[in-house]
Structure formats: structure tokens, C-alpha cells
């Protein structure tokens, strides 16, 4: 296991200490329980997210004006605990209530659920499940929450800054989630520091289509293919789910899983954009980079969000966080 690491046990805190020091103007790091909060407190609905670590910059990198008010980092790929969420809520609630933004994993859901039950202040929860690699079904856990979470955090974050109330923020989060679809592909597994061995083994000429952000197996193994045919497969699944009308404007997010350089992400973006325009969709907003990673996994995911005038305006609104910044 070649990583920049001191020991697996100190990995998380060493990294978070670095993050908090590098962005001391934006975030404050609290210990016991572990919570990162936004430095400038503002009277509005507070947005709190959290989940297992290893997906950086998600979520702490999105704390700041126009996005999150707090993030609760768990151990690597392990949901954080209810005491973290309760502490976060108590630290950032200004009386307008808190919205928990939770990715759809059993562990995340149960821990946030217990926190919500124990909280005395007003709160609501939205579950993000944008990963179309997994079939949805009312009998199962359903789809995973992946990179689309960033889009929910950005858009609802912008709405919260306008003074919208908790229920409106929750409804907007549900609305964005319903217009989101993502799918990923891995070229190389990641290694969980505590485990020390790759989560899966991928031969030199195979890729995992539909991989999860924890290295969960996807839809299928497939031989290595050209960027444009990989993009075609991902977009095929995404569009089959979203069924957008022709002419609709979309936000296209090409997200790196950790070990893929931006030059390759831009190449994927190019293929995705061309294929979408060929199908009569307009890529009117875009984001390309490493936003929801899986440690040092090589690979990428594509996310589409169907836009509307309102969503576009909220996407364009100023944001000032460690990992996403514009207009301010």
C-alpha cells in the first residue's frame, strides 16, 4: 500500500488537520465529537451533511457560503455517528432548523435517523440516491447516493442563503434529487488504509462499469474500451433513467474518483457533451474535477441534472467553499 500516510490509525485526523489549517478562513474543526463547521455563522436554515471519509472534498470541502454549514466525517467509508450529527446541529442551528443531506446507505441513514430522533431542535432529512448503476426497488435499500450529492448541496445551499424555510429547502433537495442521475466506472481499485489491500482486483484490461464510491462492484466487468464507448454506456443508463425531453438544458458533472487526472476528465467531458448534444440536449452548465472521490481509485463518474430557470439561477449563485468557489 503506497499512500502518503503516517499510520492507518492517524490517517483521518492528519488529513483533516491539514484541511482545517489550509482553510482556516472557512472552517473550524471541532473534536470529540468530530465536526467541521462554517466559520461565518448566518441566520438561515443550516445544511449539514456527512458520511464516511475517503470521498474528499465531499463533504467538508463544501462548507462555506452558499453550501454547507457543517460536515460530519466518519472513519474511511464508514458512516459518522449520531453524536457527531447532534453536535453539528447544535453548533450551527440558528433557530431556522437544520436539513440533513444524507447519501442513501444503510449506515448513513440509520445514524442520521438516530440523531434526528434524539435532536430537540427542528430538523428534516433528505436522502440522495442518484446512482443509476443500481436498480431502484421499494423492497431494497435502493440506489446509492454518489456525486450528484454535490449538486444538491450547491443548489439547496444557494436557496438557504435566500432565507428559504426548512420545508422549502427540503422540498428543493427532493426536487433536485429527482432530476439527478449518475453512473461511474473504475479503472483501478482503491485501498482502504486499515485494510491495506485493494478492495477489488481488476485485471489490466478490464474495467468495472457502475462501480460505487466505496469500490462496491457495479453492473458488470467489461473489457477496457475507448473513452467514447464508456461514456456512451454511462450516458445510456443515465438517460434511460431521466428520460429528458429534447431541447432541455442540463448540468453535466464529470467527476474524478481520485486517481484520474483532469486531462482525462476533460476528455470524458468532451465525449459526453458531444453525445448529449447529438441527442438534442443542451449542456448549459458544467463541472469537471474531483468532487466525490473514492480514495485513490482510478475512474470517473458522470452526473446529469435536468435544469430549469430556477435551478440554473441557484447553481450560478455565489459559492465560497474550499472546493467550489465562484461569484465571491
Amino acid at each position: 500500500m503506497k499512500k502518503f500516510i503516517n499510520t492507518p490509525a492517524t490517517y483521518l485526523m492528519d488529513s483533516l488537520n491539514g484541511f482545517a489549517a489550509a482553510h482556516a478562513d472557512l472552517v473550524t474543526l471541532h473534536l470529540e465529537p468530530l465536526v467541521l463547521t462554517r466559520r461565518e455563522r448566518q441566520s438561515k436554515v443550516a445544511l449539514i451533511s456527512g458520511g464516511g471519509s475517503g470521498h474528499e472534498p465531499l463533504h467538508a470541502g463544501f462548507i462555506g457560503h452558499g453550501m454547507l454549514d457543517a460536515a460530519c466525517p466518519g472513519q474511511v467509508f464508514t458512516s459518522p455517528t449520531p453524536d457527531q450529527m447532534i453536535a453539528a446541529a447544535e453548533l450551527v442551528d440558528t433557530g431556522a432548523g437544520v436539513l440533513f443531506i444524507v447519501k442513501n446507505y444503510s449506515g448513513d441513514k440509520m445514524n442520521f435517523e438516530m440523531a434526528a430522533e434524539m435532536l430537540s431542535t427542528s430538523n428534516a432529512t433528505v436522502i440522495i440516491n442518484d446512482d443509476v448503476a443500481v436498480e431502484n426497488s421499494s423492497f431494497t435499500t435502493g440506489r446509492r447516493g454518489v456525486a450528484g450529492t454535490v449538486i444538491v448541496e450547491k443548489i439547496v445551499g444557494a436557496l438557504a442563503e435566500t432565507g428559504a424555510n426548512l420545508e422549502d429547502c427540503r422540498l428543493m433537495a427532493e426536487h433536485v434529487n429527482s432530476r439527478l442521475a449518475s453512473m461511474g466506472v473504475a479503472l483501478k481499485s482503491c485501498i482502504v488504509p486499515a485494510a491495506g489491500t485493494p478492495t477489488f482486483n481488476l485485471p489490466d484490461d478490464e474495467i468495472e462499469i457502475g462501480v460505487g464510491i466505496h469500490g462496491e462492484p457495479g453492473r458488470r466487468r467489461s473489457p477496457m474500451a475507448s473513452a467514447s464507448s464508456i461514456v456512451a454506456e454511462l450516458l445510456g443508463a443515465i438517460l434511460a433513467d431521466l428520460k429528458p425531453e429534447a431541447g432541455v438544458e442540463v448540468l453535466l458533472l464529470v467527476n474524478g474518483l481520485g486517481a484520474t487526472p483532469v486531462s482525462e476528465l476533460y476528455l470524458l467531458f468532451n465525449d459526453a457533451r458531444c453525445q448529449l448534444e447529438q441527442r438534442g440536449l443542451r449542456v448549459s452548465r458544467s463541472l469537471v474535477g474531483n468532487y466525490t472521490t473514492a480514495l485513490e481509485m482510478a475512474g470517473a463518474s458522470i452526473t446529469l441534472c435536468l435544469l430549469s430557470k430556477e435551478l440554473t439561477a441557484l447553481w450560478d449563485a455565489p459559492v465560497h467553499t474550499a472546493a467550489l468557489r465562484w461569484g465571491v
Binding site: 465529537p33 464516511g52 466518519g74 472513519q75 474511511v76 467509508f77 464508514t78 458512516s79 459518522p80 455517528t81 449520531p82 453524536d83 446507505y105 444503510s106 449506515g107 440509520m110 445514524n111 435517523e113 438516530m114 448503476a133 443500481v134 436498480e135 423492497f139 431494497t140 435499500t141 435502493g142 440506489r143 446509492r144 482502504v192 486499515a194 485494510a195 489491500t197 478492495t199 477489488f200 460505487g212 466505496h214 469500490g215 462496491e216 462492484p217
Partner: protein, 223 residues
């Protein structure tokens, strides 16, 4: 039975999970995200650090303190689930401690876990071990079997439950994302629960002979 008994169980659980560390890690790498064994060890080690406090308490308060500690230490799916199990046991009215009140405690602990996980038997989770075990425990304490017979019946149900997860499609937890691809793999939570149940049975039976089968016995994919 008191806080000391709780810590004896914790020690037994810790030992058996340590012993099967690689096997459990591999099971969760195959159909989950690989952290299950580290989650368990982190939780159990936190309890071991709390030994003085836990040992100073009566049985149910000791379970209650352990539940809170696990809840704030483990995270993931196992954190809330195991905390619910112990919390449910701690909350069950039990004027005196005997095997039938223990069976009742265990039953409502498992029920609380099932409610938290919104899951039942057949969904390829730890409940495929814990629900059958709680049923056997309750059934046999109301009949007149010997303690040895009870313990060995529990161990058999636990092992059967664990092995049964191999052929299941998961509908709860991370393995549910895999659909058919999870078939052929034993659920890591079912395996860890079975190991802990077995270790506690052995502890109770005073039979401390090592029953460690090959630590990687169930990790092989498929067969």
C-alpha cells in the same frame, strides 16, 4: 450477572473477531466496503477502554452504557444496529436475572435492531443469525433442556443462519446494491454475529478450548 459478565462477553467477542480479522475483512470487501471488521474492533476496543466504568455497573446499566459507547464509536451500519441490540436488552423489564429473562431481553434487543434496520430474516444480514438464535433461546429456555443442549442448539442455529446467507440475494445493506452478484458470498455481519454468539456460548459453557476453525474458512468466494 453484572458489568463484569458484560466485559467477559466483550473480551470473548474481541478475541474471536481479532482471530477472524482477515476473513471478515475479505467478506466485507467482496460484497460491502471492507470496513466491517474494523468497525467491530473499534467498538469493542472502546468498550475495553471503558472497563472500569462498565464493570462497576449492574447488568442492564452496563449494557446501556456499552450501547451508547458503541453508538458513538462504531458508525456505519453496525453501530446503530449493535447499539440497538444492547439498548433493547437494557430496556427490557427484568426483575430477576435468569435464563428466561435473558432470553426475553435478547428477543427485544433483536426486535429493536430489526426495527432500526427495517429488516427481517432472509435479507442477508446479521439478523439471519440473530433472529433464529433469539427464537431458539426463547423456545428452549421454556422447555427443560440442559444448559449444554441449549448452548449447542444456539450455536447450531447461528451457524445455519450464517451459512444460509451465502445463497441469498441481499435486500438490505450495502450488498443489496449488487443484486445477483452477492449470491455465493456469506454476509460479513452474519459471520461476525455468529462468531460472537458462539464465543459467548463457549464462554458460558466454561469451555474455553479453542474452537477456531481455519480463520479463512468462509472467506472463499462461492464454494
Amino acid at each position: 450477572m453484572n458489568g463484569k459478565s458484560v466485559m467477559e462477553c466483550v473480551d470473548a467477542a474481541h478475541a474471536v473477531i481479532e482471530q477472524h480479522r482477515d476473513e471478515i475483512a475479505q467478506l466485507d470487501q467482496a460484497i460491502g466496503d471492507g470496513d466491517h471488521v474494523f468497525n467491530l474492533l473499534r467498538g469493542l476496543e472502546a468498550l475495553i477502554e471503558l472497563r472500569p466504568q462498565i464493570e462497576g455497573l449492574e447488568f442492564q446499566p452496563a449494557l446501556s452504557l456499552s450501547a451508547s459507547k458503541l453508538l458513538s464509536t462504531i458508525g456505519g451500519s453496525s453501530g446503530p444496529l449493535l447499539a440497538s441490540l444492547l439498548m433493547g436488552m437494557a430496556k427490557t423489564p427484568a426483575p430477576e436475572l435468569n435464563s428466561s429473562s435473558l432470553a426475553a431481553m435478547f428477543k427485544s434487543g433483536v426486535a429493536m435492531m430489526a426495527a432500526r434496520g427495517k429488516a427481517g430474516v432472509g435479507e442477508k444480514t446479521m439478523l439471519d443469525v440473530l433472529i433464529p438464535v433469539s427464537e431458539t433461546f426463547e423456545e428452549l429456555t421454556s422447555t427443560h433442556v440442559s444448559s449444554d443442549q441449549l448452548l449447542s442448539a444456539i450455536k447450531t442455529r447461528a451457524e445455519d443462519g450464517m451459512l444460509a446467507t451465502r445463497e441469498m440475494i441481499a435486500t438490505k445493506g450495502r450488498a443489496s446494491f449488487l443484486g445477483e452478484r452477492a449470491v455465493g458470498h456469506i454476509d460479513p455481519g452474519a459471520r461476525s454475529s455468529q462468531l460472537i454468539i458462539t464465543a459467548i456460548c463457549d464462554l458460558v459453557a466454561g469451555r474455553h478450548e479453542s474452537r477456531a476453525s481455519d480463520a479463512l474458512e468462509y472467506a472463499g468466494r462461492g464454494a
